[in-house]
Symmetry: C2
Subunit: 285 residues, 2 copies
């Protein structure tokens, strides 16, 4: 049986640290504040927003919502971003993506001040993740993977890490963050030949394929730590990851779905807001 | 004996294409023009500059030199960059790095207009390489590696590529460009365990370690294509790559040093200038 890497425990520990940091900021007159920009009323966005607001309250982060109608115009949205950029009382900003097709998403991303880009969507944040510079903010999901490894005392240095998936939201940044932590990193994807045998060489396996059952027992060994980033719905209509239960059972340690990586992402978002507030106010705990 | 991947042949073929493109641009009143910004008189810079000017002449690219004294100030250098940004007659800009210690190199990099960043030094270019977006410009050395593969008909898709080195100038961009071309990519570095056995699994091995003899026969197999990016001086005072001659002999194909990757980089720089001129003038050949 694998060790269960409990995302809720990681989030709880991070939140305790954040409470101290936010208290210290508040005592000096700074309330770390997150702007949430949502266009329309998509169910996924609303669910994530509720989770984020709850987590923010627990951590001591204030939230300001900027809600625009689904048929809002590009100038309206850019004006909203400008207002957030110029508001010294807002330290970080989350913009729900994808935006409606009528909006130039890239223009919106790049309008956001990199200093407030707590979800890692600007070129400056992307370049920092790529370069391994400790500035800007990485996307929250791969950052959550790194927090889980840290919490459980796993140092990636010198370990073989295999990342399944090359998306800009998870696969690529996870690979660059593991590389920055001195793992030897291999990135696999749909064009990879014999992915299972490459995966078996991993000490740390990050599954970010995006479909249920992608990781079968052939991918996994008992010495592995498996981080299952997938959030899928299986044939029975149940939430599940990329890793088959019978594959997870083989691993040395594995994150469950739900209750694994996904349980840490909103906490990482709050961590980024607090870091942004510290940087912008010049207060360092 | 390995097939010799001749950088000069690659450069010659690219230059022939460039001549046609520059002629087409010139016939429509646009002379593709590269600005070279050099601070001081460092020998390495002067040598590269001479090579670049010669290559530019052959390809039909004009060069404007901006030479500042080694003790120039930050505002002087930034003014120079601004002048280049605002000059519609200049399409690309090469700035020699590293800059003197008194200069904020990052501020200088980011001052350059991304549209003119033909050497891939701005965040926008870095983010584009990282994201695999076909915009901005990658650094010239990894781009030269990709041109060599293309010239010799090697499609990285589905192949195992191993990159030795994780620098921002070569290792990381080479990894991202190979990933963009759908290779399965592994990045090794000083903290990697048993690098030789990982290297042996490569179909394409990129050696960007930066010291002579780093790649020994244990790294290489007869089915491999080896791209030797190293430019070192060995004990006998002779120019050599990262790959030992007895290792290169084992490979299926290998770039020599000199006459390999290094012979293609200035041509790639000119290719980027021509592409920049096409984009900025709206003329597409």
């Amino acid at each position: 049986m694998p060790q269960i890497l409990d995302g809720k425990a990681v989030a709880a520990a991070l939140t305790e640290d954040l409470k101290k940091q936010t208290a210290a900021l508040v005592s000096r007159g700074v309330v770390p504040t997150l702007a949430i920009v949502r266009v329309g009323e998509r169910g996924d966005d609303l669910a994530y927003e509720r989770g984020a607001i709850k987590r923010a309250q627990t951590a001591g982060v204030a939230v300001k919502q900027f809600i625009l109608p689904a048929d809002c115009t590009q100038p309206q949205l850019l004006e909203t971003i400008d207002a957030i950029n110029h508001d010294a009382g807002i330290h970080g900003c989350l913009i729900f993506m994808p935006l409606p097709g009528s909006i130039d998403e890239r223009a919106v991303r790049e309008r956001l001040s990199p200093a407030k880009d707590v979800d890692g969507i600007t070129f400056a944040s992307q370049a920092a993740v790529y370069a391994g510079r400790d500035e800007g903010f990485p996307p929250c999901t791969p950052a959550a993977c790194m927090e889980i490894l840290k919490f459980y005392g796993v140092d990636p240095k010198g370990k073989n890490a295999v990342v399944l998936g090359r998306s800009l939201v998870i696969g690529r940044p996870a690979a660059m963050m593991l590389l920055g932590a001195s793992a030897t990193v291999t990135v696999c994807h749909t064009k990879t030949r014999d992915t299972a045998s490459i995966a078996r060489r991993a000490d740390i396996l990050v599954a970010a394929v995006g479909h249920a059952g992608a990781v079968t027992p052939e991918f996994v060994t008992p010495s592995q730590i498996v981080l299952d980033v997938g959030i899928n719905v299986n044939e029975a209509g149940k939430l599940c990851g990329d890793v088959l239960p019978e594959a997870a059972e083989i691993a040395g340690a594995c994150t469950p779905v739900p209750g694994g990586v996904g349980s840490v992402t909103t906490t990482v978002l709050m961590k980024h807001v607090v870091e942004a507030a510290e940087k912008q106010s010049g207060i360092n705990n």
